[in-house]
Structure formats: C-alpha cells, structure tokens
C-alpha cells in the first residue's frame, strides 16, 4: 500500500533528514516509527502525506506515485489518509460535533452522510456525550480522541499519526493506542511516529527504527529498542 524507493530528503538549508529509504507497508499493517529526536520521523510522515516532496526517490500510495502527482490531485490523495498530530489541531471556535463534521463538509459530503457518520465515529471514540462541547472544555486525551474521530470519518485507507500521545499522560496514551488498534482491526493501515517506549514494547507491532536519517532496524513484532 505504501512503498518508498531510494527516498532521500534534504531540507533547503538544513541537513539531510532522510537517506536512501526503501520501505514497503502492506494494507492493514500497524507500524511504529521510532528513533531519537531529529532522526527523521516527522519528515517521513510529511513525505507520506505529500506535505514535503523527497529530494530523491519515489513514493507510492495505493499504487499511485505521489511524488509525480500534480498539485491539484493532492487533496484527493489526502482524503484517503487520516492525519493525527501531537497538538490535536482542533478548531477552538467549533464544537466537537462541528469539528468532525468539518472534515466531511470540506470534501463536500452530502448532509445525510454527515448526519449519519459523525455520531457513528463519536460513538467509536467513546465521546457521544461530548458532541456539543467545545475543544477547550475537554481533556487532552478527549481532544485527541476527537482528532482521531475526525481522521477516520472519511473512511481513509491509512491513518498517519505524528506523536499522537506526545502531550498525554501514560494512561491516556494507552487509551489512544487501544483506539488506534481498534481502528486498525477494521482494516485501516496505521503508521505512528512515537517516543512512547512502553507502548511500543507492549503492542508488539512492526517497528521501523530511524537514526540520523537511515533505517537502522525494521522488525515485524519489535520493541522500542533491541
């Protein structure tokens, strides 16, 4: 589903963030990307999401070469990838319900579909009673669950998360991981960049370890460190 061939990324005036990455992620996989700060995790996520273009190499998503994509095709590929960030990125002036509905309005989903799907995903992340709350009234964990709901409401093929538990305490982090795991069980490919060592260790999922831009380890049922 996701393939990278000889991918390197050097930022304009910065260092080389990724070097000669070759990688294949199958549909339905759950993958952790780990490594020290500055190793290139966020860069890899940005490449997947076509926020950045690689300096060298090709990236395929569902068979489509996203490095050769025209700018106006980008929105359509993004609709098939859900994004979750460390800082949640909810709109503070909109209610929980509106925040999730927003993701559907933006892709011009019919109102009927919005009415049906938003309660459905709220149920799934366990927050049906918070539909009318504002993001500011929620705990960090609850906000991240709303962000997760928003990321999956479009039924994406993949969900990509950059340190989704970076701002959360261990218990809440664990809940978010469980949710990601549930979403994965429904067939969505999940890619998570993280520093959360205990979580990675106990999940026993595929682990890709980066260091100074290289893949130094790729284990099927790995731990945070060897």
């Amino acid at each position: 589903m996701i393939e990278m061939y000889g991918v390197s990324k050097a930022y304009n005036k910065g260092p080389v963030a990724l070097k000669d990455i070759n990688l294949k992620i199958e549909k339905g996989e759950f993958v952790f990307i780990v490594g020290p700060s500055g190793a290139g995790k966020s860069t890899m996520i940005k490449l997947l999401f076509r926020e950045e273009l690689p300096t060298k190499g090709q990236i395929f998503f569902c068979g489509k070469n996203i490095t050769r994509m025209k700018p106006r095709e980008i929105p359509y590929i993004r609709r098939r990838i859900g994004m979750v960030f460390q800082d949640f990125r909810l709109i503070p002036q909109k209610t929980v319900y509106e925040n999730i509905a927003f993701a559907l309005q933006v892709v011009e989903a019919p109102q009927r579909e919005i009415n049906r799907k938003v309660p459905q995903v709220l149920e799934m992340v366990g927050l049906p009673h918070k539909a009318k709350a504002m993001p500011g009234e929620l705990s960090g964990g609850e906000q991240q669950r709303v962000a997760l709901a928003r990321a999956i409401v479009n039924n994406p093929d993949a969900l990509v998360a950059d340190e989704p538990t970076g701002n959360l305490d261990p218990d809440t982090s664990w809940e978010i991981m469980k949710l990601l795991s549930d979403i994965n069980k429904r067939g969505t490919t999940i890619i998570v960049a993280t520093h959360a060592r205990e979580l990675v260790d106990s999940m026993k999922k595929r682990v890709i370890q980066l260091d100074k831009g290289y893949i130094v380890r790729d284990e099927a049922r790995g731990a945070y460190r060897k």
Partner: protein, 290 residues
C-alpha cells in the same frame, strides 16, 4: 460545487466582513474612491468627445482668393483644393455672400452704402479635424490663394489637452486601483490570518485549493461590489446635478444624458468585483502552500 456549500461560503464571508468592519469600510472606501476618479475622467472624456464632434464639425479653413482670380480660376481652384488629401468639402463663398453674412452679424444699417471690401473665398472642411493644420499649409502654397485662416492654435491645444487629460486620468486610475487592491488584500489578510489554523486543517483533511479560496474571494468581491455600487451612486447623482446646472447656464454645451452611461455602471460593478478578487487572491496565496 454544491449550492449549499456556496451558501456557507457567503455566510462565512459576511461574518468576517463584520468581524473586521473597520478594515472592510476602508476597503469599500478605497474602491469607491478609485472608481469615482475613474468615473469622473470617463464621464469627462466621453462628454468631451461628444462636444468635440460639434466643435470638430465647425473647425474649417477659410482660404481667401487674390483679386485677380477670375471665374475660370475659381472653378480650377475648387477642383484642386478638393483633390488635397483629407479634404472633405470645399464651398465657394463669393464676396457678395460674405458681405451679406457680415451684415447679418454686424447689423445692416451700419454698413449701408459701404463698398464691399471682402475678397472671394473658399471654406474647406477636413475629414479629420486633426489634419486641419497640415491641410492649411498645403493650401497656402496653391497659386492665386492669398491668405489661409483657421482656428490656428485652438485646434492643436484642444487635442493636446484631451490627449493629456486621458493619460493623466488613466495614470491616476491605475494608481488608485492599485491602492484599492492593496487595501483589500490587507483586509482579507486579517481574515485569512484569523483563520489560518482552519485553513491548515482544511488542507490536511483534503480540501481543494478552490474550496479554501472561495470564501475569501467572495469576501473580497463583496467589498469591491459595495465600493463600486457606492461610486456609481455618487457619480450618478453628481453627474445629474452637473447636467442640470450646465443645461440651465451654458446652453451652448449639451452634455450627454445619464442614460447614455448605464452600460458603464455594469462595467463598474464588474471592475469592483475584479479589484476585490485580485486583492484577496494575493493574500490567500501564501496560506495555501501546505
């Protein structure tokens, strides 16, 4: 694009118009001001053209004949003058005709019993009044022609003036339009900036650039539209007033009635919208790059 979506765009546009009401007013004022300048020059220029057609048709050359010219010479000269490039019409005015005319103007009694001092002459009209000076020069060189007269200087000055008035009007208009675009761009930038998070999220969940752009474009176009509507109102009222004043006090000049300019009103609305759209597209551009 769904109608419902567009309805939402309009709602968003109006909300931010009110949120930044002072900047919105400034933008509207700028558009109105620049279009009023443009409109004034336009009204002036079109009316000038109109008045000029009158003046132009009056610009003629008078060529006086030497006394020695006989009937045969007159016939030959008429043919020769008609043959000059750019000449439209050649009319012979005998000294008797000229005297009659003069009497009409001055008063019969005064000239009674006087010997006719006036020469025979030709009155010549040009196809294009701008060519009058050149034609006059050519006629001067023709044999048996004594003296050539025309509104020397006046014609040149008039054309010069109109020419410069147009250029100055155009320059002022362009400067004002640029200022309006700049002010609108800044107004919209406030909105864009206030909603940059939202724009960012929109791009992440797969909104097309046009989906992001529309509310801001609509906001800009509404500003431009209101500005141009105001300019049309002020110009129309002002013009009607001047039209009446001129009609009462300067009967020689007939201005065009306002109804001649209705088409320009539509064009103005379009120009206002264009200014607004340009202004807002400048400010969104940077935020679309995610």
């Amino acid at each position: 694009m769904r109608i419902r979506t567009f309805g939402n765009f309009f709602k968003e546009a109006f909300v931010s118009l009110f949120r930044n009401r002072w900047m919105s007013l400034a933008s509207i004022g700028a558009v109105a001001a620049s279009l009023i300048v443009l409109g004034s020059f336009l009204l002036l220029s079109v009316n000038f053209d109109h008045i000029l057609v009158d003046v132009e048709s009056q610009v003629e050359i008078t060529a006086y004949l030497e006394d020695t010219a006989d009937d045969l010479d007159i016939a030959r000269l008429k043919g020769e003058l008609s043959g000059i490039y750019g000449v439209k019409e050649v009319n012979f005015v005998s000294k008797e005709d000229a005297m009659e005319e003069f009497k009409e103007q001055v008063g019969k009694e005064l000239l009674e019993g006087l010997e006719n001092p006036l020469p025979n002459s030709f009155r010549i009209k040009a196809d294009n009044p701008q060519d009058v000076p050149e034609i006059a020069q050519k006629i001067e060189k023709v044999e048996k022609i004594d003296q050539v007269k025309y509104g020397k200087g006046i014609v040149e000055k008039l054309f010069n003036m109109i020419h410069w008035a147009r250029i100055i009007g155009l320059v002022i208009m362009v400067v004002f339009a640029a200022i309006s675009i700049f002010i609108i761009a800044n107004t919209i930038r406030l909105t864009v900036f206030a909603r940059r998070r939202e724009i960012n999220i929109m791009k992440y969940v797969g909104a097309t650039d046009w989906f992001v752009r529309w509310p801001f474009l609509i906001e800009g176009m509404i500003l431009g539209l209101i500005g141009s509507a105001i300019s049309i109102g002020i110009l129309g009222a002002g013009y009607n007033y001047i039209y009446d004043v001129v009609k009462l006090n300067v009967p020689m000049i007939s201005l065009l009635p306002l109804s001649n300019f209705y088409d320009y009103g539509l064009a103005f609305l379009a120009v206002g919208m264009l200014i607004g759209a340009l202004g807002s597209s400048f400010s969104i551009k940077r935020f679309l790059r995610v």
